[in-house]
Chain length 435, copies 2
């Protein structure tokens, strides 16, 4: 088999066979195909797309390129949750303890990746002492004991994705549905869970700005998961504003704890988290319906069971579980500075990605792979879309340690929020379920 | 400037600025842009194409990436001739001496490249003693003295093309009009001639199988040449059968000598060579019209002037000029074996590329860059399209040294020639002139 023939076949609009896709992935991971040929192939795929069959074959070839986690020693249905990423998306830290408290088994491996704010691993690491690096043995033990563990990926999980993603990132071939779907799903499949619940974001803070694209991505990922024999479903949810109000690391942990303690009776983060958790319970055969699941989840909060699960997991992963009772023990920034509204009206459109960048500029995220994240800094949003606002009123609180980028961060944040004269029509939060 | 932005701009259908194109070429030649990013850009160009302006800017950036030959010490108009390549295309060896004999200055640098049969350099090197490696000083001296020199490119002529071509070859991005045009024209422009006459081939033995594609390529190249301040024109000519009857190296030199000696009063190779030479004389301000040029060319053959120029150039480049009088001194193959027609009728369609491959299998061309070419071997075609043929009659003579691939070569040759019941309509030889 010659790679040049495979490149030309795809370039000319042909459909690659499973054997051709397997060849590409196997030989690329083995370093026997050069980056430049894969770069040309990726660009041809960007233009021509891939059929569902090709996308599934690609995903399975990638999933098989490294470690394949065996969770069979944990009894029952193991369930995973994945978000395509957004700003203030702390849902994993809410969903995990909730599902565990209801009897689910949440075994989650997270990647680190780049992002406006840190990823789930960075958020967890803002908890003093907690480590996300666990052996496979210990990971299985924690899931068995706590019903929940959230750890970093093993070093050799889907090496094909590591190589392909790094190459896509520098060759303008990131934004292709088949390549995104195979990147996500290969890791989910290799990570070994029986059920996978996907949260596909759409809006100004999401990778997929348009709802139609998000729905197509969700469909592609669900179909791949199902063809790979995993119970897979997706919710397509809104990312036209930050999901929670806290944007950062420790601040997001604090907001998750507020929800787990029942201190926030409503809010988008809670609504989406409960919806995802309900689907996870259904996929885990714990509940027969969404109504039953919602009742069980309410009870998990009211009883303190969910918070207790979170504390147990933190402890098992070496962290200071006292933060659950006393969030003040989380890292605090030196100063908290308000940002005031420039004019009066209603909060209209938000450029959510720019809001993420404002948090990044404070130190909450990383621009380059090796940048350090400051766990304490971040932004607390005080107004959401549709809220009335008066000129001079606080729009947000900035938790700041270094002042270098503060002005730029505040400018970007202020520019990102439109104050409208009329109250905008309310946004749907959950657009659709794909299963 | 970031290459990723340039890739995405082209990928999304944008037009690259001259600054962006200059950046790409300069930094790539300097090895500060990796192959994989250029591979992605080339594939995006394959899909999106380039405007004429982009193509011209690319060509000029490439032409400026290395040596730029200065021929100003040679008085008068210096003229170059380039063919996009075909089988039995010996025109350069006929045209060069003809134009020189008429007072033209032919300064030709040739690349080696891959091909079914050797390139012009390989053909010349079949002349005992002749070398195509000459210093720039000596090249200019030979052109001044003989009116004609044909040498290899300087090592640093258009390094951008060397890198880009090698990459295109392995990334499925060879067959794009802008990339082909810029590759050819950057070398012509850097080689320093004032006038450039292009022979763009179309047909079963040409890169451009369809006439429309050849015409577009010719237009693009002519426009680039003119924008670069060179007198440039192109003839689009037929390559649905080998141009000459000799396919190989020494055999092609022998056929060129036959024409220069006036021994072949007609034939496609002579017709095309005279047409190209006429254009070169006009572009050199030597003749005002094609009629005048044709008369001058006939005279150059009849007087022996053209043959004398060829002999002078051979001698100046170190070769045995006696081959002009005694072509038997050219390398001879051990055996000459006839290939007989399988059936009776008329020679119909020829798969000219396959005929080239048949010659390559005898050793006349190279599959890989470092393969050696056997100067003596080749095929003499005895029948051309439209000729009547009887079963058992000789179709061609195979000049053979090693018998290893002989059977395969003959099989391919026989398969490549269709014997039709009816005489096919005659093919035009020169389709159009672009200027």
């Amino acid at each position: 088999m010659h790679l040049i023939d495979i490149i030309q076949k795809k370039r000319n609009g042909g459909e690659l066979s499973r054997e051709e896709i397997d060849y590409v992935i196997t030989e690329y991971v083995r370093d026997s195909i050069p980056d430049y040929q894969i770069a040309a192939l990726l660009m041809a795929i960007w233009f021509r797309g891939m059929t569902r069959r090709e996308t599934t074959d690609l995903t399975l070839a990638m999933a098989g390129s490294g470690d394949q986690v065996d969770l069979s020693r944990i009894p029952g249905v193991k369930v995973d949750k994945h978000s395509t990423g957004g700003v203030a998306d702390t849902a994993t830290l809410v969903v995990g303890p909730l599902v565990a408290a209801c009897g689910g088994r949440v075994a989650k491996m997270s990647g680190r990746g780049l992002g406006h704010t840190g990823g789930t691993l960075d958020k967890l690491e803002s908890i003093p002492g907690l480590t996300v690096t666990q052996t496979m043995e210990r990971f299985i033990e924690i899931v068995s004991d706590c019903g929940l563990a959230i750890v970093g990926q093993t070093a050799n999980l889907v090496p094909a994705d590591k190589k392909l993603y790094a190459l896509r990132d520098v060759t303008g071939t990131v934004d292709n549905l088949s390549l995104i779907a195979s990147s996500v799903m290969s890791k989910k499949i290799a990570a070994g869970c029986d059920a996978i619940v996907l949260d596909v974001k759409t809006g100004t803070g999401a990778f997929m700005k348009e709802r139609q694209g998000a729905v197509e991505l969700a469909r592609a990922m669900v179909e791949i998961g199902q063809l790979a024999g995993r119970r897979t479903l997706a919710l397509v949810t809104d990312m036209n504003q930050p999901l929670g109000n806290a944007i950062g690391n420790a601040v997001e942990v604090a907001e998750a704890i507020q929800i787990l303690r029942g201190e926030l009776p409503s809010g988008d983060l809670k609504t989406v988290s409960f919806a995802l958790a309900a689907q996870m319970l259904i996929a885990s055969d714990i509940c027969p319906s969404e109504d039953r699941a919602m009742a069980l989840l309410d009870q998990a909060v009211a009883s303190g069971g969910a918070l207790e699960r979170f504390a147990r997991m933190i402890k098992a992963q070496g962290g200071d579980a006292r933060i659950c009772e006393d969030p003040g023990r989380l890292p605090n920034a030196r100063q908290v500075l308000p940002l005031k509204a420039r004019s009066s009206g209603f909060v209209g459109r938000m450029d959510t990605e720019a809001i993420g960048t404002a948090a990044l500029l404070l130190g909450a995220g990383r621009e380059k792979k090796d940048d350090a994240v400051d766990p304490a800094v971040g932004i607390w949003l005080l107004k959401r879309i549709g809220d009335p606002v008066r000129a001079g009123e606080d729009l947000a609180l900035f938790h700041v340690n270094r002042e270098g980028n503060l002005e730029e961060s505040m400018r970007r944040f202020a520019d990102a929020i439109t104050i409208a004269e009329e109250r905008p029509a309310p946004l749907p939060l959950i657009y659709t379920k794909i299963e």
